[in-house]
């Protein structure tokens, strides 16, 4: 009975979003059949298009995992975007300026640098929350602006490419690149990093005492402290890991896609990651599925724009609608069961 209702509600959500999507497509005066055809062929039309979905999903999964870890600890990290950029800065810096070392070591060090700087960036609001009860939602959002503008400053000053008038860093050495998984597509080993991270996050959350304490604190900080779990420490740890994962997303974008630091490397991955975590119910497996799903939606929408002249911003509208419907569904299911 309950399963039928749950399944039914998901079918209903899928139905509503498709319907709204169709209405929007018609409203801009496009041929609905052609638009939907383009949408699906953009996702599954060829092996190449499918790898593009996975390339897009990689940062979404990594940052989404980060957001999920934070949300499980009830640390509302809205700052994955900024943490991603900080990770990108650190990875680029490590790629450009560290003394030469074996390739894989260098890649590993650069990714770790991304993890660390992203983690520290999130740990500041985490510390402020745990120590002084300063709301993390506001702080993490503000830290996004700071991080994005730090990138802007860096690519024009100390990390600027002296040979080019454009605001960007010099290119990393050609071989300093995450291995490609399926030449000639752009699919790179960042996806593997994301999947390994999903497994690690799962083990961390559900099999270790750290994860146990993190979930306990997220569910009921008061009861946790009454039984002797340190709430402050747990929040700081969760913010560090959360930001670190978002930082890895930035590192993976630098080392796997762009090869240099520039402004706008993230088309709001950090914000979409919140949707990914929400859709994935803060569970690593859910995050992986939601990350691929959202990536597919976005890639499909761009193809639709290219081939059928439908604005890709429709995908954003659909995403917004999805969030509202899913939150509404949770509320609905809860209110029915009590």
């Amino acid at each position: 009975m309950k399963i039928i209702r749950e399944l039914g509600s998901f079918i209903l959500i899928a139905g509503i979003t498709t319907l709204v999507g169709a209405i929007l497509v018609l409203a801009v005066g496009a041929d609905a059949g052609k638009a939907f055809g383009a949408f699906f062929s953009g996702i599954l039309g060829s092996f190449y298009s499918f790898t593009e979905v996975l390339v897009r999903a990689t940062p979404l999964i990594l940052a989404g995992l980060g957001v999920a870890v934070a949300f499980q600890a009830r640390f509302f990290n809205i700052g994955a975007e900024g943490q991603l950029y900080m990770g990108a800065i650190a990875a680029t810096w490590a790629g450009l300026y560290l003394p030469s070392m074996p390739l894989y070591l260098h890649l590993g060090v650069a990714m770790m640098a991304g993890f660390l700087l992203g983690g520290i960036w999130a740990m500041i609001p985490g510390f402020l929350k745990s120590q002084y009860k300063i709301p993390e939602v506001i702080n993490t959002i503000m830290f996004n602006y700071i991080a994005i503008n730090i990138v802007g400053i860096l690519v024009r000053t100390v990390m600027a490419n002296k040979t080019s008038p454009l605001p960007m860093s010099p290119r990393l050495a050609d071989d300093l690149h995450l291995p490609f998984l399926a030449d000639p597509t752009r699919l790179h080993a960042g996806l593997l990093v994301a999947l390994v991270c999903a497994v690690l996050v799962y083990l961390f959350l559900y099999k270790t005492t750290w994860g146990f304490e993190l979930r306990a604190v997220g569910n009921n900080p008061r009861a946790s402290s009454c039984s002797g779990i340190s709430v402050k420490k747990t929040i700081v740890i969760s913010s560090l890991i959360s930001g670190g994962l978002a930082g890895l997303a930035g590192g993976s974008e630098i080392l796997g896609v762009h090869g240099r630091l520039l402004e706008g490397i993230s088309p709001e991955f950090g914000y979409i990651a919140i949707i990914v975590a929400l859709l994935g119910r803060n569970h690593p497996l859910g995050v992986v599925l939601a990350g691929v799903g959202i990536a597919a939606l976005q890639i499909g929408a761009t193809t639709m724009q290219r081939r059928a002249g439908v604005p890709a911003s429709i995908s954003l509208i659909i995403m917004g609608l999805l969030v509202i419907l899913i939150l509404g569904r949770q509320y609905w299911v809860k209110s029915r069961s009590t």
Binding site: T209, W210, A223, S227
Partner: protein, 503 residues
């Protein structure tokens, strides 16, 4: 009320309940927690709509779809948790929602005068200009009752009115209720205390599991009959063996508090608390809620740090230790607020059972937790404590209050603690669960544990404690040996802060 049915989801809160209240009578609605008393009254007061059945007033069927309509039918209700706006004055609260003459420019003085008059008439002493948040619970209840009288209610519903009162305040309340009865008003009093029913009510209706099990004049049913009706079986009560298992008075105290102070925002919550607790005794801490007992319990287990004073446990100063350390050296804490302090409702039963010991073997090696061990441990506990649950993976949220409390007790009593701080351990539980927990505490005492039992329920304290300390306004105002000569009235006075000299 005839054949009233109401269900929430799959829970049948009321089924075919009949209730008849005559003009000018005090009618007790007796039943355990969860028996459906409050639901039935909320239907009468228009908060809930019945699924079926009807409500008749003076023989006329009425449908009451909101508290507003109930008030216009001269029905009034005092909820267990008072519904007052803390920042407004007494008279503003009383006139809340009614448009007085001259609205929106109400003649406040006139209203105040009327309120004072009512207050004098019924002996309900209040100051109409006082601000709600400055008043004590006993006074707030008077405000609620005056509110009903001001609305000219003919039928007054009181939900567990004595739960927050000292014995003397309860006596006063009963006097007021008798006066109201004399005026021809009807009163329904919701309660689960049989003694109360016998001292005040004319007739009683007993509910069990949402259904009416009986209705009779109070003279026709005795105490045992009432309790049988209420819980559906005979009750074996827990009895404390009169003498402590062994004389320990010459031994060093298990716990001693020296000059414990705790500052609140404006006032001192705890003032120079000094207490000693021996192993193998139950020390009851009596007091009206909110006089510092919760804070004291939290200071002892280390959730709060005191602003002054020392805590000695087995002769060692433990003041600087954290909760975890104190639990490890033999303290246990049963908090009064199960849902906020004791349990993580959205985690499963087995996880809640190891909240204190999750990072210890056998549950964990090198930070990796063993799910199997955890589950097996939970299964053992469930059978040992007779926890009713579909399984060890059930979220604690879905267990009943009694079973939730058993989870907390099982967790805290694990590892054979030397000291148990039990704060309102039976609050809100039905009689069966209450007895289970009382017996458990007595068994721990026999075993040699020292227990600090915080309770607002004097009956429970009298039944279980070896000694009773009284706390008022953050001070220990009295300490009594619980023997034949104990003076309940004296304890009540101490609870109300009346000192010997002032009498």
């Amino acid at each position: 009320m005839k054949q009233v049915c109401k269900s929430f989801g799959e829970v049948q809160a009321n089924q075919n309940v009949d209730l008849t209240v005559e003009r000018g009578e005090i009618h007790a609605l007796l039943g355990e927690n969860g028996a459906g008393k409050t639901t039935l009254m909320n239907i009468l007061y228009g908060i809930y709509q019945p699924d079926s059945g009807s409500v008749l007033i003076d023989g006329q069927p009425v449908s009451i779809s909101s508290p507003g309509e109930a008030i216009s039918l001269k029905i009034g209700m005092v909820h267990q948790h008072f519904m007052l706006v803390p920042t407004l004055s007494v008279s503003q609260n009383i006139t809340l929602g009614i448009k007085e003459r001259g609205y929106p420019f109400t003649d406040r003085k006139e209203v105040d005068r009327k309120i004072s008059q009512l207050s004098k008439e019924y002996g309900l002493d209040i100051d109409p200009t006082a601000i709600i948040e400055d008043l004590s619970v006993g006074v707030l209840q008077r405000v609620e009752i005056i509110k009903l009288l001001y609305h000219q209610a003919e039928l007054l519903i009181l939900d567990e009115p004595t739960a927050v009162l000292t014995p003397q305040e309860a006596e006063n309340l009963f006097t007021v209720l008798k006066r109201l009865k004399k005026d021809g008003r009807s009163i329904i009093i919701i309660t689960h205390r049989i003694a109360e029913v016998q001292s005040i009510a004319d007739r009683v209706t007993v509910l069990r599991d949402g259904a009416r099990v009986g209705c009779d004049d109070i003279g026709n049913v005795g105490e045992t009959r009432l309790s049988e009706m209420m819980i559906g079986r005979r009750l074996e009560t827990a009895v404390r063996s009169d003498t402590p298992t062994r004389d320990r008075s010459h031994e060093a105290a298990l716990l001693s508090l020296e000059g414990i102070r705790l500052k609140g925002r404006n006032v001192n919550i705890l003032n120079d608390i000094a207490l000693e607790l021996q192993a193998g005794e139950i020390l009851g801490l009596a007091g009206v809620d909110g006089n510092g007992q919760k804070e004291l319990a939290e200071v002892i287990v280390g959730i709060r740090q005191p602003d002054g004073g020392k805590i000695l446990f087995e002769g060692n100063d433990v003041t600087g230790l954290g909760v975890r350390k104190r639990k490890r050296i033999g303290m246990a804490y049963v908090p009064d607020d199960r849902h906020h302090d004791g349990l993580i409702l959205d985690m499963d039963l087995s996880s809640n059972l190891i909240l204190n010991s999750h990072d210890q073997p056998p549950f964990t090696t090198y930070r990796f937790m063993h799910d199997q061990v955890r589950r097996r441990h939970a299964e053992q506990t469930i059978s040992e404590y007779q926890v009713k649950t579909p399984g060890v993976g059930t979220l604690v949220r879905y267990l009943s209050g009694g079973n939730q409390q058993k989870i907390i007790l099982a967790r805290e009593l694990e590892g054979v603690p030397k000291l148990i701080i039990a704060s309102q351990p039976t609050r809100g539980l039905d009689i069966g669960a209450e007895e289970f927990i009382n017996k458990l505490l007595l068994a721990q005492r026999e075993r040699g544990a020292g227990i600090l039992l915080v309770s607002a329920d004097l009956d429970q304290l009298m039944k279980l404690s070896d000694r009773i300390a009284v706390i008022f306004d953050g001070r220990i105002t009295g300490l009594f040996n619980n023997d034949a000569g104990i003076d309940l009235g004296e304890i009540g006075l101490k609870m109300a802060g009346v000192t010997g000299a002032a009498r």
